[in-house]
């Protein structure tokens, strides 16, 4: 029982960590594109990114389940190449990335929008490429947006329930994360175990958020 508890918690935070890492890599270019691109129909892309904020998780989960199922064209293509996404950890990662996308993109997007254009241009006139400018000038100056995005995406993934229930089921060591386990334990009237999961999640997420906000304040204070 105890080892099952541990492996569920490890899986929960592993999922959150991998999802957050992938989101960070995706969200920086995506947020830059949303801020700086001048294409038409940009609002359509913005809407798609924001959809998970308002869409019931079961809707996203339902469509992902359809897409991942071996009967669908995407699912059968993947299965033919040895990738099974429905009821697997990989499937959870993909759906978590989609579901937490706005939580990472929005803070980075609004931080980027506040950087004056002349900061970019100054770096270009000093001979620095777009990549150098991004890495050495822009990302350090939007680090508070990055931290907010990381914390929100991580916390949101830890707290995710509906999508995982739809596409992940409740397979120990594969898709059984803490939020599912709580539901499962309550269903079988095992309140003590449910409480153990719930309290752990509560304490750990509180500690992470507190640490981040304290550090954030300190680094702000250092500049002022």
């Amino acid at each position: 029982m105890e080892s099952e508890f541990l492996s569920t918690m490890v899986l929960t935070f592993k999922l959150a960590a991998i999802t957050t890492a992938i989101l960070l890599v995706i969200a920086i270019p995506l947020a830059s594109f949303l801020v700086f691109s001048k294409i038409r129909f940009k609002s359509i892309l913005e809407t798609i990114v924001s959809m998970p904020l308002v869409l019931p998780p079961s809707v996203l989960g339902f469509y992902l389940l359809l897409a991942f199922s071996p009967v669908s064209s995407i699912g059968s293509f993947l299965v033919d190449h040895g990738i099974r996404l429905a009821f697997s950890f990989e499937g959870l990662v993909i759906s978590s990335v989609l579901f937490s996308l706005p939580f990472m993109v929005h803070p980075i997007q609004s931080a980027l929008a506040q950087v004056p254009l002349s900061i970019f241009e100054a770096s270009y006139t000093l001979g620095k490429s777009k990549l150098q400018t991004m890495l050495r000038v822009i990302l350090p100056s939007i680090r508070h947006g990055l931290i907010s995005g990381i914390v929100l995406a991580f916390a949101h993934t830890v707290g995710e329930f509906g999508v995982i229930l739809m596409i992940g089921g409740n397979i120990p060591d594969e898709t059984r994360v803490a939020s599912i386990a709580i539901y499962d334990e309550v269903e079988s009237l095992n309140y003590a175990m449910a409480h153990q999961y719930a309290l752990t999640l509560f304490v750990v997420t509180f500690a992470i958020l507190l640490l981040v906000y304290t550090l954030n304040k300190k680094s702000l204070g250092g500049i002022r």
């Binding site: 004056p116 002349s118 900061i119 241009e121 100054a122 770096s123 270009y124 006139t125 000093l126 001979g127 620095k128 490429s129 050495r136 000038v137 350090p140 100056s141 680090r143 500049i223 002022r224």
Partner: protein, 292 residues
């Protein structure tokens, strides 16, 4: 030598303006572009820097083609040897003064010159401070020093003095003048206030509606051909006071106040806040040193 002949359609508040600039600058020359806002001065600087693309034409700097629409050449800003000082300074907020300059340096020689540049703009004591802790004038000097790190062929200054208070403005003018003499870098400065850069400039160019209307040395620029005085000063009209039958006009010349009596006709050509030439022909001015 810098030669440019470019056109661009400018979208201004009054509609589209077909801008056409022709300008030749000699090596080490200091030219001020001035004119009303919306005349396209900043756009000209930005096109020289490669931050905006002209519609057609050619920009050549020391024999190197930076832009040529007929040959489809358009060097990006990174490939142009420029130093650009932005109106809002554009200092990198997460870097100290020294780091801002070091960021610009491309090689060891330029890195080792950073401290000298910081000295030149008198910021040695502030070199570890972050930009947000500096005053406007100090930020401006950091921006200026940073623009000079890479020994640019041309220094472009976009309204560098307009946001500063008068005493700071005076100090920065002196500093700009000193830097220009010391480093001899070809400089193009944009201003909407003529008076602030008259003494710095080798030539003044007035930009009106997307065109360089007139370009001349400062004194020649302000003096109509018919006026050949023994004493000529440029001042700002502070007050026009009627004292029947004449008008008493008060002007600010540098930091001195000059009062003069004008006829009603003469006074009617002046407005408070405008600039005017004070000239005297008949009398030889007396110059005596001040003893302290």
């Amino acid at each position: 030598m810098i030669a440019l002949d470019i056109t661009k359609n400018l979208h201004t508040a009054e509609g589209t303006l077909k801008a056409h600039y022709e300008l030749t600058m000699n090596h080490g020359e200091f030219i001020t572009l001035f004119g009303p806002s919306g005349a396209g001065k900043t756009t000209l600087l930005r096109m020289l820097a490669g931050l905006e693309k002209p519609d057609s034409g050619r920009i050549e700097v020391d024999g190197e083609v930076w832009f040529d629409s007929s040959r489809r050449i358009n060097l990006p800003p990174q490939k142009r040897s420029i130093g650009f000082v932005f109106q809002d300074y554009a200092l990198f907020p997460t870097m100290s003064v020294r780091e801002n300059l070091l960021f610009a340096a491309e090689n060891d020689e330029q890195r080792s010159n950073v401290d000298e540049l910081i000295n030149l703009v008198e910021l040695s004591s502030l070199s570890d401070r972050r930009p947000e802790t500096l005053s406007g004038g100090q930020k401006q000097r950091v921006a200026l020093a940073r623009a000079l790190v890479r020994h640019p062929k041309i220094l472009l200054l976009d309204e560098p003095l307009s946001a500063l208070d008068p005493s700071m403005r005076q100090k920065l003018q002196d500093e700009l003048s000193l830097i220009h003499t010391r480093l001899g870098v070809t400089t193009l400065l944009v201003s909407h206030d003529i008076a602030e850069t008259v003494k710095l400039s080798d030539r003044l160019a007035s930009v009106v509606s997307g065109r360089i209307e007139r370009i001349a040395e400062p004194m020649e620029f302000f003096s109509p051909q018919t006026l050949s005085g023994k004493l000529q000063l440029i001042g700002e009209v502070l007050k026009i006071q009627e004292d029947t039958p004449v008008f008493i006009v008060t002007l600010l010349v540098g930091s001195s106040i000059v009062r003069t009596v004008l006829s009603a006709d003469e006074a009617s050509t002046l407005t408070v806040g405008s600039h005017a030439i004070i000239s005297t022909k008949a009398f030889n001015p007396i110059v005596i040193p001040i003893r302290h």
